[in-house]
Amino acid sequence: MTHKGVGEGRELTAETLARVEGEGAMRVVVRDGLVSDVELRIYEPPRFFEAMLRGRGHTEPPDLTSRICGICPVAYEMSACRAIEDACGVGVPEDVALMRRLLYCGEWIESHTLHVYLLHAPDFLGYPGAIELAADHPDVVERGLRLKKAGNALMTLVGGRAVHPVNVKVGGFYRFPTPAELGVLRRELQGALEDALATVTMASGFEFPDFEQDHEYVSLRTDGDYPIEAGSFVTSSGHAFGVDAFGEWISEEHVPHSNALHARLRDAGPYVVGPLARYSLNHDRLPPTARQAADAAGLGPTCRNPFRSIVVRAVEIVVACEEALRIIDRWSDGTSTHAAPSVEVPARAGVGHGATEAPRGTLYQRYELAADGTVVDAQIVPPTSQNQASIESDLRGFVQHRLHLDTEELTRQCEQAIRNYDPCISCATHFLDLTVDAR
C-alpha cells in the first residue's frame, strides 16, 4: 500500500484486495470530506462464454458453462440444464430434481465454508488471513477444512468430480449414486451438520458494525423448500415473477468505469441477490434445524446488515447439510434408486430460461435454440454482476462515516465490506487494485 500527497489531499492505493475470489479493482474518491464517487471493477460478465456457446449443440451448455467458475460449477450447470430443458419443453422427474438438489447442497457447503472460514472469518477475528488464523486457532480452521471436505465428497460422488462435475447432463445424470455410496456419504454429512451448527455459533459471536442497508432483495422462492435448484422470483418490495419474465423485470446497463453490466430491477433500481436476500425472503422455508440455529444466533426473519451475511452463510451451510441428509434418507427409503437417471431432451426450436440459487445469489441463463438444437443465442447473468451496484452503494455510505480512520484501517474495512458479498470475480478479471483517492 502506498500513501502519497496529492496537492492538499492524499491518494491512497492498495495493490491487491486480498481474500476476494479472483481479482478486480476499486476506487473511492473523496472531495471536501464527502465521498463523491465509488467505482468497482471487480467483475466482468462471461461474454466470452456466451459467444462460444453460439453454434454449439443443445446438450453442450451445462458442461461448457461449468468451466466459467471453479467455485460454483454446479450453479452454472444447473441453470443451463433448466434453461435448455425449458426451451425443449421437457420437465425432469422428481428423482432427478432431488439428485440435483443434493449435488447443489455440496456446492453450497463447499463454497460457503471456503468464504466463511478462509476469507471472511479472519476479518472478524482480527487476522490478516487464514494462515495467521490457523497458527493461533488450528481447531477453527480444521473444522472449516473438514466441512469443505464433506462438501467436496458430496460433489465428487454425485457430480462425478469436485470441480467441473462430469456426471451432469441435460435431462439428468449419467448415473445415480448407489444407496451404499450414499450411506458412506451420510456419515460424513452427519458430522458436517454438527460442524455447521458450530459455525453458526462461532459466527454469531462476532462483532458487527451497525450498518443496516435498505437494499431491494431478489431471490427465488418455492412452494415448499428453501430455494436452491428451483423456484420463481420474489422481491422485497412485493413483486413476484416467473423465471421466464427475468428479461422483462431486470435490465442490464453499461456503466462507464467497468466492463461489467449493472443490473437494475424494474421500478426499483439496484438490488441484491445472495444469502441475505434468500434468507430474508424465505425465512419461513428454512428446514427445522437451520431455523433453530438462526433463532439461537439472534437472526430475525430478515437480515439487513451485510456484515452479518457471515452468520446467514453459516445458517445456509446448516440448510445444505440438513437438506442433503433428508434427500439421502428419502432416496434410500424410496424406489428412486431403480429409476432412470435421466430423461431424453429432444431438440426443438424455442427459447428457454433457467435460474437457480448459486451460493453467491441467483444465476440466470437464457438460450435460444434452432430446430436442430443449435444454440442461436445465449445469455448468462451471474450473481456478482447483479450485486455490483449495491456493493458500490454500501461502500459509499460505509466510507463516508469512516473518513477519520487511517488509510490502512479504512482500506482493510473496505475490503471486509466488499467481502460481505462474497464476490466471485475469478470468472473474468485479473488483479484487484484498491485506490482511495482523497482530495
Partner: protein
Amino acid sequence: MTALVVGIGNGSRGDDAVGPVVAERVARLGLAGVEVVTHEEPLALVEHLAGHEDVVVVDAVRSGVVRPGAVHVIHAGAAPLPRDPVALGSNRLGSHGLGVIEAVELARALGRLPRRLTLVGVEASELGVGAAMSAPVREGLDDAVRAVVDSLREEAGL
C-alpha cells in the same frame, strides 16, 4: 507411501492450463508409486498435502524475470515461502484469492506439510479467458515434465 503430483490451474485460461497439462503428461508416463491429481482451486492442495511423503505441485507462475515457458523449481523447506508477486503461484497470478503459496503456508500452520514438497512453476504469459496456451509455454512442457520426473527420482534416489 506414494508420491503425489498435483497440477493446479484453469484449462480455460491460456497458460494457466499448464499445471494440469504437465500433471496429465506425468500420469501418462505411468511411474510406479506416483499418484497424479489435477485441481483448479489451489486450496485443494491442503487436503492433498497430508498423507504423502513426497509431493510435487505444478502451477503457472508469472515472475516477469524469465522468458515464458521457463521452469522454476522451488523446494519448500523450513522457512515460509515468500508471498510476493514474483514467487511461484502467488495470488497475483491466478484467478484465486488464495493461491498455491497460501495453500502451502496454511498446510504448514496446521502441521500438514509433507516431508518433501517441490513446486514446479512454468513462467506464463497468456492468461486470458478462452485463450489457447502460448507457443513458448507449449515448448516448455517437456522441460516441466522433466523437472517433475527429476524431482520424483531425486527423492527415490534414482
